[in-house]
């Protein structure tokens, strides 16, 4: 079957090239049968790539150790679930997953645009299939997932133990769906530039794709953080690792785009800026793939040294140069229809928010690439530590938090001083009240940014709650509906706005939790014999005895720890260490007791045969709110992106006179 798998990838490459040529020929000659043929070429790419993926899964499940990726990333004792996920454990397999998801996205684009965007579609198909041609060529000629080994080993090396984790089953596909989804807005943007259809049509077509991609990126980033927290055993969840940063950068720029696109829709402004953001977002998604595979930077997540770097770098340069050259030729047609009337207006706030998000993305890019740049300039690789990232992101994050609260309360075009005073009175009162506990927690200014996050968080939540309250009041008075009904109607009538506010609540939760965890977490090490008790950060830990077990797959040691506070025992934690036999690699199994206020996080460092357990304890305040914030963000964005159905009997407002206004 390896031969069929290889052939399927070659056929996918040929079909992708054909689709590019046929689509462009259709655009040049106006012969629409060629566009129909190109769209079938997209289906052909999907069919052949799907065939390759299923053959690869068959090889993994069938323990075909004559295939290099099966021998390298699976073994006889590996469970079937991890055999499925071993597909993206290898370099070639992960590229195959990328390609498969791209083919699915391309087919969805073809299906959903059968009766729309017909003049954009030739270019959209050409761009998507151009990217597909690149990936299939890499998979066919440079790094094949179907490469074989000789002699055939009796058993494989198995999957990296760090990847044998439930979060790792879903984290990479989620990120990849996000990355791949961003290729669709890029393809539509290029199509709009080429065809000079630069009205809002392309924006409408891509907004939902961008939000969905953003949702998947968000899920992927949160799952990855959760994996790092539970699996790496260092008490943290984010280390500004190059590959973590690679996922964050397109997320930040896509977030900027999702805000600035509203300015284009509403005011006809920021049209060039939006094009730049779409191009940058997709380029950064590819850059993340490049970082993971080039071997230029070391990372716990990277695939190590490989020869793929120059190919990806070449693709990124071609895309950047080609896209910006095209954009440059269309600048006159992209001039804004309106200008900024006031620096205190909704569109101005969106602009500030955009500058901060893109600035943050640039800072992360700079910090990530600094080792490479320093080596190129000085001949010495200087790594930027977490301190740099924390110093840069803290003030920008706080400013973003401020604008998250301020933005929705300021009207479009301009805001009067009287209006501002009235709108911000309640949030400012709440913020002033929040200063008291915040100053107490700040401990003489040592944790000023955590205190500022608490104050700004209180301010922003009050702003958002105020928006819901005023909206409910109007609905309640107008429609004679109950208060809960009025609350529900807000989401029915304007999902995008009120779903967006839910996302903002999630952002507040995450930023405040990150600030509190960073400032107020404590850590201590204990060495306890059976029956002994030690204390860290006010919590007592009692060694109740060790455990040892062994199966075909791994050897495990653990210790039972009774956890008490003030003499009240509230949990028994069992941190452990697994030693995976095939790889002779150890993996920490941390134990966590979570509550809304803090996590007690315990790592077993070592357990001697006489029962002496060495443990590291981390007490992380507010950790749960990082994960809850992630869930709130995803729920809010799903509300915002859900297709709206006009309520039965809802009439369009009369546009003739100003005296007969009907809100719905």
């Amino acid at each position: 079957m390896t031969l069929v798998g290889r052939a399927a990838l070659l056929l996918a490459f040929a079909a992708a090239i054909y689709a590019v040529v046929a689509a462009l020929w259709s655009r040049r000659t106006g012969r629409r049968e060629f566009l129909a043929s190109a769209e079938r070429g997209v289906w052909a790419v999907f069919i052949t790539t799907t065939t390759s993926v299923f053959i690869m899964w068959g090889l993994l499940l069938g323990n075909r150790f004559d295939v290099a990726d099966v021998a390298g990333y699976s073994n006889l004792t590996l469970g079937w679930r991890y055999k499925i996920t071993a597909l993206w454990g290898s370099q070639a397999g992960s590229l195959l997953l990328w390609m498969w998801l791209l083919s699915i996205a391309a087919v969805l684009v073809v299906v959903t645009n059968r009766r729309r965007n017909r003049d954009l579609m030739p270019v959209v198909v050409a761009v998507l299939m151009g990217v597909a041609a690149f990936f299939t060529s890499v998979l066919s000629f440079i790094t094949s997932p179907f490469a074989t080994v000789s002699p055939v080993p009796a058993d494989g090396r198995g999957l990296n133990p760090l990847l044998q984790n439930a979060y790792m089953e879903s984290h990479p596909p989620m990120l990849y769906i996000g990355y791949v989804g961003l290729s669709v807005p890029f393809a539509f943007a290029i199509a709009a530039l080429v065809t000079r259809r630069l009205d809002s049509t392309w924006i409408t077509s891509v907004r939902r794709w961008t939000i969905l991609s953003w949702i998947f990126l968000t899920i992927g980033i949160v799952l990855g953080s959760r994996w790092a927290y539970e699996e790496l055993g260092w008490g943290g969840y984010w280390a500004w690792d190059p590959v973590e940063n690679a996922a964050l950068m397109p997320w930040l720029v896509a977030t900027a785009f999702l805000h600035s696109v509203m300015v284009q829709e509403r005011r006809g402004m920021l049209r060039i800026w939006n094009m730049v953001l779409v191009i940058l977002t997709f380029t950064l998604a590819l850059f993340g793939t490049f970082l993971t595979r080039s071997g230029i930077l070391s990372s716990v997540h990277a695939f190590g040294e490989s020869t793929l770097g120059p190919y990806f770098l070449g693709l990124i340069i071609v895309i950047l140069v080609g896209s910006f050259a095209l954009l440059f030729t269309r600048l006159p047609a992209l001039r804004s229809q309106n200008s900024l009337e006031s620096y205190i207006s909704r569109e101005a706030i969106f602009l500030y928010n955009n500058l901060l998000l893109v600035g943050l993305a640039f800072a992360v890019f700079w910090g990530t690439m600094f080792p490479v740049l320093s080596e190129a300039v000085q001949g010495e690789k200087i790594t930027v530590g977490q301190g740099f990232f924390n110093q840069v992101t803290a003030p920008i994050g706080l400013a973003l938090l401020f604008f998250t609260g301020v933005g929705p309360l300021i009207s479009w075009r301009k805001a009067s001083a009287r209006e501002l005073r009235r709108r911000f009175a309640a949030p400012l009162v709440v913020a002033v009240i929040a200063i008291i506990p915040a100053v107490y927690l700040a401990q003489d200014g040592a944790h000023w940014w955590a205190a500022a996050a608490i104050v700004l968080g209180a301010f922003t939540v009050t702003c958002i709650v105020g928006e819901y309250w005023r909206g409910m009041k109007v609905r309640h008075q107008l429609g004679g509906v109950s208060w809960p009904g009025a609350f529900g109607q807000l989401f029915v009538r304007n999902r995008r706005r009120f779903g967006g506010y839910v996302v903002h609540l999630g952002v507040v939760s995450i930023i405040v939790a990150i600030a509190c965890q960073g400032a107020f977490s404590s850590q201590g090490d204990l060495a306890l014999r059976t029956g002994q008790t030690g204390e860290v950060a006010g919590y007592q830990f009692t060694n109740d005895g060790g455990t040892r077990s062994k199966d075909d797959h791994k050897m495990s040691v653990g210790v039972k720890l009774g956890v008490s506070e003030g003499g009240n025992r509230f949990a028994t934690l069992e941190p452990g260490v697994d030693v995976f036999l095939a790889q002779q690699q150890r993996s920490s199994e941390v134990a966590v007791d979570s509550s809304p206020f803090r996590d007690v996080y315990v790592v077993l460092v070592g357990l001697t045969p006489d029962g002496l357990a060495r443990i590291s304890v981390f007490v992380n305040p507010m950790m749960m709110w990082i994960w809850i914030g992630g869930v709130i963000m995803v729920v809010g964005s799903l509300i915002a992106v859900w297709p709206s159905r006009r309520p039965r009997g809802a009439a369009a407002p009369s546009v003739v006179g100003a005296d007969d206004r009907v809100p719905e």
């Binding site: 052939a7 689709a19 629409r32 079938r40 954009l120 009207s411 005023r470 909206g471 009538r493």
Partner: protein, 95 residues
């Protein structure tokens, strides 16, 4: 066996992509004008949504009377213009 399978898949794929060329299958839509009509319709919908939102913000006390009058007037003028464009496009499509 593998070679036969590859040959069959290849033939089926060629047939799949070549079919529109052999049968001269046209695009499902008769005219690209449909996209123009849809673009105006979507922009009109956004404009009507904006009018509703401005009205709601005014009722909620988010907008002063003066700001509301200015924003509402401009957005309604935009909606009227879009309706005219929509009617013009609809007229040009009629036989």
């Amino acid at each position: 066996m593998a070679y036969v399978l590859i040959a069959v898949i290849s033939v089926l794929l060629v047939a799949l992509v070549a079919w529109p060329l052999l049968t001269r299958q046209q695009d499902p839509l008769p005219a690209y004008q449909e996209d123009d009509r849809r673009a105006v319709e979507e922009e009109l919908q956004r404009s009507l949504d904006a009018i509703r939102e401005i009205d709601m913000d005014h009722r909620a006390g988010n907008l002063s009377d003066e700001d509301f009058e200015a924003l509402d007037r401009d957005e309604r003028a935009r909606a009227v213009e879009l309706m005219r464009r929509r009617d013009t496009l609809a007229g040009s499509e009629e036989p």
